[in-house]
């Protein structure tokens, strides 16, 4: 884990690997839409707009280079979702993978849930490294032997073969969402999970695909009265009865499933009063929460809105305990960001393994880390220029005032097409995965 201080004070980040094509011309299908480590951190899954899932596996640490943690190499690639067409509404259903969530490992196989806008699938990823050989009726290549040539019987035996990783869909959870699914979250009971769309949250059992329970429904009787939508939802990491969902109005509601079957009445409402000085045309848009994540401890939760990251103590609903500005210099640019659609970007956020540091993405392929203990923050960049093996990442700075110092970037030079929406932190080590538009960067802590 991180050094004694546990913070970015001690940690220097080095480039480790980059996955994806070098081509500047990005094919839309290759745009990464989700990144997730599994519970051990050995596997790293990415989903893209083309509906594919690519899983990377960490190589075991080599004894020759104990300084370097194992590299991640492609383990399995499969097409999770295909484009579909809803004939009733004349609408195309995108195959883009919105979220991937791993199930904890129970046996040799790995399981993950992947979802697009309408359908969730449970995938089993298993290894095959042996195959039966010595059939009586078939040759090794599969051709059937002439029965007359069979003079003796033998028992087929398993012999080692080249490792093959197979992905098979074990469950398909479909037709439960009218609106677009934005979140899935596995419960700590490891038997149920929730899926959330704009207006409803459903509870599923992993074994049952033809039924789900609706536990939250905020659809108004008259759609013209709609004022907010659900933007993200997550189960508590160790209380199986508790989950939270965030809204486009910047509020978070915590619900207890023991209270009633339909959790429309929240147990807690987390909301910070708006600062009247910051009111603008776009106040509502920038207060919309794009991601909510519980800390590993379950004591805190983090929310991401357009300009900031907020840490909430679950015991205090009135205001967050910590607020970190991600790119406050954009506040005066909201009008341009509205015109070029960037204001609608949904940034995600993540915790490190011991909840001491949080990370989120920004523009110009910058990503930010906030050390909660040391009250420090750092801006780093994921770019091909900084891609020499084990080269240390240099902190970046955006100049906000009139005078631009050397090595600083002015706000107007930022490339708003290069955005980091998805980041993930290894659950145990200081290894991070950062997704630019179509590349996945892996950075590791510099070990001496």
């Amino acid at each position: 884990m991180a050094g004694p201080g546990g913070g970015s004070n001690d940690v220097q980040w080095c480039f480790s690997q980059v996955k994806g094509s070098i081509d500047d011309d990005v094919a839309e299908a290759d745009i990464i839409s989700t990144v997730e480590f599994n519970h051990s951190g050995e596997l790293l899954a990415t989903g893209d707009k083309g509906g594919r899932v690519v899983i990377f596996q960490q190589e075991p640490e080599s004894k020759n280079q104990p300084q370097c943690r194992g590299e991640y190499n492609v383990y399995s690639t499969f097409q999770s979702h295909e484009p579909e067409f809803d004939y009733l509404k004349s609408l195309e259903i995108e195959e883009k993978i919105n979220k991937i969530r791993w199930l904890p490992q129970k046996n040799a196989a790995q399981f993950l849930l992947s979802t697009n806008d309408k359908t969730i699938k449970l995938w089993k990823i298993s290894e095959r490294d042996k195959r039966p050989e010595g059939y009586n009726l078939k040759e090794e290549d599969g051709r059937y032997r002439d029965p007359n040539s069979v003079t003796a019987l033998r028992v087929p035996v398993f012999r080692p073969m080249d490792l093959m990783v197979e992905a098979s869909p074990r469950r398909v959870f479909a037709n439960a969402h009218t609106y677009h699914i934005n979140s899935i979250s596995v419960n700590s009971d490891y038997e149920t999970y929730l899926s959330a769309d704009d207006l409803r949250i459903n509870l599923w059992h992993l074994e049952i695909t033809d039924r789900s329970f609706n536990i939250v429904d905020i659809k108004p009787a008259n759609m013209e009265e709609l004022t907010e939508v659900i933007t993200a939802a997550e189960f508590h990491p160790n209380q199986c009865n508790t989950f939270v969902y965030s809204s486009s109005k910047g509020t978070i509601r915590m619900c207890d499933m023991r209270a009633s079957a339909l959790c429309d009445k929240h147990a807690k409402l987390f909301e910070e009063p708006e600062d009247p000085n910051n009111r603008s045309f776009f106040s509502e848009i920038i207060s919309s929460i794009s991601d909510v994540k519980f800390s590993h401890s379950g004591r805190y939760m983090m929310t991401r809105d357009y300009l900031s990251v907020k840490i909430w103590d679950l015991n205090m609903e009135t205001r967050p305990v910590e607020t970190y500005q991600v790119h406050e210099y954009l506040r005066s640019k909201l009008c341009s960001l509205y015109e070029n659609d960037c204001i609608f970007d949904k940034f995600e956020c993540c915790w490190n393994g011991n909840d001491s540091v949080v990370m989120t993405g920004s523009y110009n392929n910058f990503f930010r880390m906030f050390d909660r203990g040391y009250r420090q923050d750092v801006t780093l960049e994921a770019s091909r220029e900084n891609s020499k093996p084990r080269s240390v990442l240099k902190p970046r700075k955006v100049s906000t005032g009139g005078k631009r110092k050397k090595d600083e970037i002015s706000v107007d030079s930022l490339d708003f097409n290069k955005k980091i929406l998805h980041t993930a932190w290894h659950p145990l080590d200081n290894i991070i995965a950062v997704a630019t538009t179509n590349n996945l960067y892996i950075f590791q802590e510099k070990l001496n």
Binding site: D86, E92, H180, L226, T227, S248, R279, F281
Partner: protein, 183 residues
């Protein structure tokens, strides 16, 4: 000074309204269908812009009177929206949405806002839902509806018919609130 500021705010509000309308329009042909969250955010911005536009016009009219902080108007409007019954809501929005695209034409022709002012002062109950002649001319900042007509749009027009709005009406005359249920 306040008149100039009010005018700047007016121009800005109008521009944002135009940008929002074209975004809403473009989102109809997006893959995956209308995104509810995005449509909601667009309609909120449009509402703010509309409110600010009206309040800045009022302060233009009352020359000399300091223009009220436009943000307060929009915030109080925004909070009221969920409470009242929906029926009157579409009417003022219909009214203002109609007003906005006509504005540029009127100011170009007559260089004053008298005609549009009358429309503003019409009480909602008198406001006819029927499309007026001028509204049918597509404002220059909107993409041409005809050019983009495809089977998805025909279905949309049919939905409009069921809402008692004349088919073939330009997007600007749609109630903001109507856009979302059409999804």
């Amino acid at each position: 000074m306040s008149a100039t500021t009010a005018m700047e705010v007016n121009v800005e509000a109008r521009r944002i309204l135009a940008v929002s309308i074209s975004k809403l329009y473009a989102s109809r042909t997006q893959r995956g269908g209308l995104r509810l969250h995005r449509s909601l955010l667009l309609s909120l911005v449009m509402r703010s812009a509309r409110d600010i536009y009206h309040s800045s016009r009022e302060s233009e009219v009352l020359t000399g009177a300091p223009s009220e902080e436009p943000m307060d108007t929009s915030s109080s409007q925004g909070e009221q929206t969920p409470q009242p019954e929906p029926q009157p809501e579409p009417q003022p929005i219909l009214n203002s949405a109609e007003v906005t695209p006509e504005e540029p034409e009127n100011t170009e022709d007559e260089c004053e806002g008298e005609i549009t002012e009358d429309k503003e002062n019409l009480s909602p109950s008198r406001q006819s839902r029927k499309r007026r002649g001028k509204a049918s001319a597509a404002p220059d900042f909107l993409p041409s509806k005809r050019a983009r007509l495809e089977h998805g749009e025909e279905r949309y027009a049919a939905a409009l018919g069921s809402c008692r709005v004349g088919a073939g009406e330009s997007l600007t005359t749609l109630s903001l609130n109507r856009v979302i249920p059409a999804f």
